[in-house]
Amino acid sequence: MVILKTQNLTKRFGGLTAVNRVTLEIEKGKITSIIGPNGAGKTTFFNLLTGFYKPDEGRIFFKDEDITPLPVHKIIRRGISRSFQVLQLFENFTVMENVWIGVQAAKGYGKELFSSSELQDVREKTEEMIKKIGLSDKMNTLIKYLSHGERRMIDVIISLTSNPELLLLDEPMAGLASEERVRMSNFIKNLSENLTIIVVEHDMDVVFSISDKIAVMHQGELIAVGSPEEIRQNEQVQQAYLGEAR
């Protein structure tokens, strides 16, 4: 079943066409990787899918509904979420507060927003999520004092607070040490049991080991989509991307 579909998605910045007529279908429950050299338009593609940029042409369908005109927060509430290549955290907040903000948003409060007492259900959910990634002992540490690997984990966890059906991970391995990479890729694999994931990643070992499907972008265009095996064989892909890496 197709959960997300783009049709002729195009985004231009001045003379540069960052994303050029990308038509792609994402299957539910699978891990799809998007690879391509720097500047291929992968992050812009994520920004389009989540409403941060509006496309110049083309449409985006999520669960058969047209979400193209929706603002970011509405797309998040529909069930798409993302993590960030350049970490986007609340730097002067503790670990707890970082996750809390996401959990509170997902609960969608009305008048309780102005209550003086703590929202007990938010606290419990927040603690549970932090426990899941083994950072319970650092709950009250300011996030800026955490290691890069821990911070990246929090970035991913915040994007899970909105209970997404589709999760976009933007270079989740970037800057991680080798043992952290193993942990992160296991974490992603576990996640994929319950949700659909699109990963932008440069680490080819990870990409080929976790992906069900790989899409290759080059200069804003989608040049190939297929199973890891098909992509490995594809000559155009080898020329455009894999070739220069090997």
Binding site: I76, R77, Q88, F114, S115
Partner: protein, 320 residues
């Protein structure tokens, strides 16, 4: 245990000493004689603390906040002179008009941040200033409006308090100070306030957490306008008049400076400390030194350069 910590905190709620200081101030020898000064201080404390919802908590540099103070002042004055000779109705109308103006301006600024936000708020406040300055028939133009007397409040045949004596008006404003401060405290320490702080920290991430950040910013802007309007209306009753200076851009500048000076970026009471320093320096120093602003400016510069976090920044290692 976090629960134990919490009960400790409640036993010494920081608002209590704050209120006690202002409650006993008129009876402190020497200081108590400057009643009108302290009333003005309390009015500015309300204004500055509410302004800090924007600057300190949401990270929105509103450089035109004086507009809502001024609109509150004019709203109360015009209501008193043209509609109802009273106390409550002019104040309430002043608050409503200021809130409506903030809601209107908020529509234009709530999608902006940083310098664009600042510039648009300045532009609007200048616009309101010139309207007040030129619209003679309604605002009295250059001369302004006068003759706004402080009448009595109370319940007919039961009791009545004459607000004309300064001491009575002091406690009238004090009640406002208590109510406004409690409300603002509640707002910034609520789940809503937490979202505002998240917007200050990282608006992009707040959006991606699922918040309609523009809406939150708009509501924060409007809330801030409510209290600015209240402060303005109380100011009109204090000086028995309203003139275009209350809308002048320097009013907006003063509130920014006192908030930063006192430590509003790190402490709830920072703006209050800044307001006390500013108003007392202005009134006491200016009696001896015409260039008192030079001294104030020097203090401000030194604080900004060497005490990041302002005066109250010394006491708080961690924010708030």
């Amino acid at each position: 245990m976090p629960t134990q910590k919490k009960s400790l905190k409640i036993s010494m709620h920081p608002l209590i000493p704050f209120f006690i200081i202002f409650a006993v101030l008129p009876y402190i020898p020497f200081l108590g004689e400057y009643l009108s000064l302290w009333i003005e201080v309390m009015i500015w404390v309300i204004f500055a603390i509410s302004f800090n919802i924007l600057l300190g908590y949401t990270g929105l540099p509103s450089f035109g906040q004086g507009a809502f103070f001024g609109i509150g002042a004019y709203g109360a004055a015009i209501t008193f002179l043209r509609l109802v000779k009273g106390v409550w109705i002019p104040i309430i109308v002043g608050i409503i008009v200021a809130t409506a103006a903030a809601a209107f301006v908020g529509l234009f600024v709530c999608r902006k941040r940083g310098i664009y936000f600042a510039l648009i708020t300045i532009a609007f406040s200048q616009m309101f200033f010139f309207i007040a300055f030129r619209w003679d028939e309604v605002t009295g133009g250059e001369t302004g409006l006068s003759g706004i007397d402080r009448l009595s409040i109370g319940i007919p045949r039961l009791f009545s308090i004459d607000l004309a004596p300064l001491l009575n008006y002091y406690y009238f404003v004090f009640v406002f100070l208590v109510i406004c401060t409690l409300l603002i405290w509640r707002i910034v320490h609520s789940p809503f306030g937490r979202v505002l702080r998240a917007i200050k920290e990282n608006e992009v991430r707040a959006k991606y957490a699922g918040y309609n950040t523009s809406l939150y910013k708009w509501v924060a802007f409007m809330i801030s306008g409510i209290f600015a309007g209240a402060a303005g209306a109380l100011y009109t009753l204090l000086i028995n008049s309203a003139f275009s200076f209350v809308l002048h851009w320097t009013q907006s500048g003063d509130v920014v400076m006192m908030t930063i000076l006192g430590g509003g970026l790190v402490n709830f009471f920072g703006p209050a400390v800044g307001a006390v320093i500013f108003i007392t320096l202005r009134d006491m120093l200016s009696a001896y030194l015409r260039q008192w602003l030079l001294v104030y400016g020097l203090i401000f510069t030194l604080v900004v350069l060497f005490m990041r976090g302002g005066i109250l920044g010394i006491f708080s290692k961690r924010r708030r």
